[in-house]
């Protein structure tokens, strides 16, 4: 096996790492859209809050004398998930529920307002400058001959793959097997009808926001550990990319969001690797336009049924 192959492998791994985190955030967009047909633009900010909680949790736990890295990370996951779900639920309660039943564009504006509010709230509370921490997980495995160009897979990348995979499996079991999951699917089919059949659709919508927030928190913990830097503005960029991934895969479809995230991540890495990082976003968005031209509902999206 030669250098060119390992270079390709390296870029593929880089792309899949970024792509898995896009996928985690994209699920939040796609699930909310699937049920209430609205884009939750504040979702990127929920991810950003997940990152901040990770930083605070890690520092706090370390100050309490916890030294084991796996326990620290576990603690960060638990705290980040709890706090971020509270945010996800409250956002729905405060910004969207009072507007239920109004015109489609109104909650959209409310979402943008929420996004600005959260961004500035964190900016005031935590400062506008980058906060950084040292890498907790270092090292990795080498693939290929050490002497020439070889691909390397860091332990952190492995953690990202495994965690993302576990989160996806857990989500699909929840959606396909549990009672609440079935109610979620029913709401996505026809929210009025499920209401008539005695399911509390408001509660189901609340749960959807919480699930989205949990996955955003998972992405927040993983990316905080991976990059080690956070500032109040990261939510915007991450949200934009994840939203693109969701649209690419077919908004409303959960496997679509995952596929869209991975495709977007790999496209970006390959463009940087073989063309120029200057054209990374150009190629990614050109791909989005192409796919939407050929399949207007995205890769795995189902055709929109006009509800009468």
């Amino acid at each position: 096996m030669n250098e060119a192959f390992f270079y390709f492998l390296q870029q593929l791994l880089n792309g899949l790492t970024v792509g898995s985190t896009y996928a985690l955030i994209a699920i939040g967009y796609t699930m909310v859209y699937g049920i209430i047909g609205m884009i939750n633009f504040a979702h990127g900010e929920v991810y950003m809050i997940g990152c901040y909680v990770t930083f605070i949790a890690l520092t706090g736990l370390a100050m309490l004398g916890l030294e084991s890295v796996p326990l620290l990370i576990l603690g960060a996951f638990i705290l980040s998930i709890i706090v971020t779900s509270a945010y996800g639920y409250s956002i729905e309660r405060v910004a969207y529920r009072p507007l239920r039943g109004s015109h489609r564009l109104i909650p959209l504006i409310s979402a943008i307002g929420m996004s600005i509010l959260l961004q500035n709230f964190v900016r005031v509370a935590q400062g506008a400058r980058d906060i950084a921490m040292p890498s907790l997980v270092t090292g990795g495995v080498t693939l290929g001959n050490e002497a020439s160009f070889h691909a390397s897979l860091s332990y952190m990348q492995i953690i990202i793959f495994v965690t993302t995979l576990m989160a996806m499996i857990a989500l699909s079991i929840f959606i396909s097997r549990s009672r609440t999951g079935r109610a979620c699917r029913a709401c996505a089919e026809d929210i009025k009808m499920t209401g008539l059949l005695g399911i509390n659709s408001n509660a189901i919508i609340g749960i959807t926001f919480v699930i989205g927030a949990i996955l955003a928190a998972v992405a927040g913990v993983l990316l905080s550990l991976y990059y080690g830097v956070v500032n109040p503005y990261i939510g915007f960029m991450a949200g934009l990319k994840a939203f693109t991934a969701a649209v690419l895969g077919g908004i409303g479809s959960i496997p679509g969001a995952v596929l869209g995230g991975l495709v977007l991540g790999v496209t970006e890495a390959m463009t940087s690797g073989y063309l120029s990082s200057q054209y990374k976003d150009v190629v990614a968005f050109a791909l989005l336009i192409m796919i939407l031209l050929l399949r207007p509902t995205g890769i795995l999206g189902r055709p929109e049924v006009e509800k009468v």
Binding site: V18, D130, S135, S152, Y227, G228, N231, E268, K280, D281
Partner: protein
Amino acid sequence: MSKTNQRISKLFATIALAGITSYSLAAEPIKIALAGPVTGPVAQYGDMQSIGALMAIEQINKSGGVNGSMLEAVTYDDACDPKQAVAVANKIVNDDIRFVVGHLCSGSTQPAADIYEEEGILMITAASTTPELTQRGHTLIFRTIGLDTMQGPAAGKYVVEQLKPKRAAILHDKQQYGEGIATAVKSALDTAGIPVALFEGVTAGDKDFSALIAKMKKENIDFVYFGGYHPEMGMLLRQAAENKLEATFMGPEGVGNSDISAIAGEASEGMLVTLPKAFDADPKNAHLVEAFKAKNQDPRGAFVFPAYAAVQVMADAMTLSKSQDPEVLASTIRSNSFDTPTGVLEFDDKGDLKNFSFVVYEWHADGSKTALTNE
């Protein structure tokens, strides 16, 4: 005439009389407007300018002022906002002040400078480095700091003469400042025949450079220049260290602040950066550094001494020409040289300094730096 009206006119009369009395008592002070951000996210830069300028005014007044008149500072806040800068400039015009030290951010200096030029006000900025500012044929606009276009060649010269890399990569953040400097560095390397294997832009705000770093590893890059600011440079350094890319990194003054060490940690050790000379370390400025310390002020800020120099150039020009006419002063400034704490300053026709040296520093993980070049 109603009672209120009577009272108001009496009040005005008193004020007018008071004005005349104070006018007759002493020679009118020469007012200098200090325009820059007093509030807002970059207020610390405004602080640097104001402590430098105020110190200069104090020193000049202590030694008898200018042609028998004292200097007086009037502070204006533009918050580094171009819209507010225009309002401030108009206010300065209305307040009949004819000398301005400022503004700070290039974006707000540019629109304000247009107003000063039109209204015949002399302006010297101690901080705005955009080349465009002085390229529009203005005659009353000067600066006591270098230009973005001077920094790239300074960095390029050091790379070509000292580092001599085998294969270089030049990156930038696709913005005016970063791309401009990166292009200048590239042309220096091209002239010297050093192969530039990569010349690419990255998106400001991006966090993931793993694909780019893998590419640089494959290309056997041993030198990376990044034109941009510290957040992206920090991530580049950090991810390069994690992926064992063994290359020397270099950047402009936009990466040279303590935040880089916070972001990149150990990986920031050994980074090269071009910065204006540390004027506070110059032994002949020791008395000024003492004077700043006595007032509990920090003389290390990049704009403190350039602001001091701006005030001094104005005052010296007034002494030399025995005039307070901005037009006369502008031609005096162009045709003379001025001995200031930032060195002997000479200005060209555009109003820029003929020489302004950037020094190459080696950065350390604890946020300190050592100079690698003298001038």
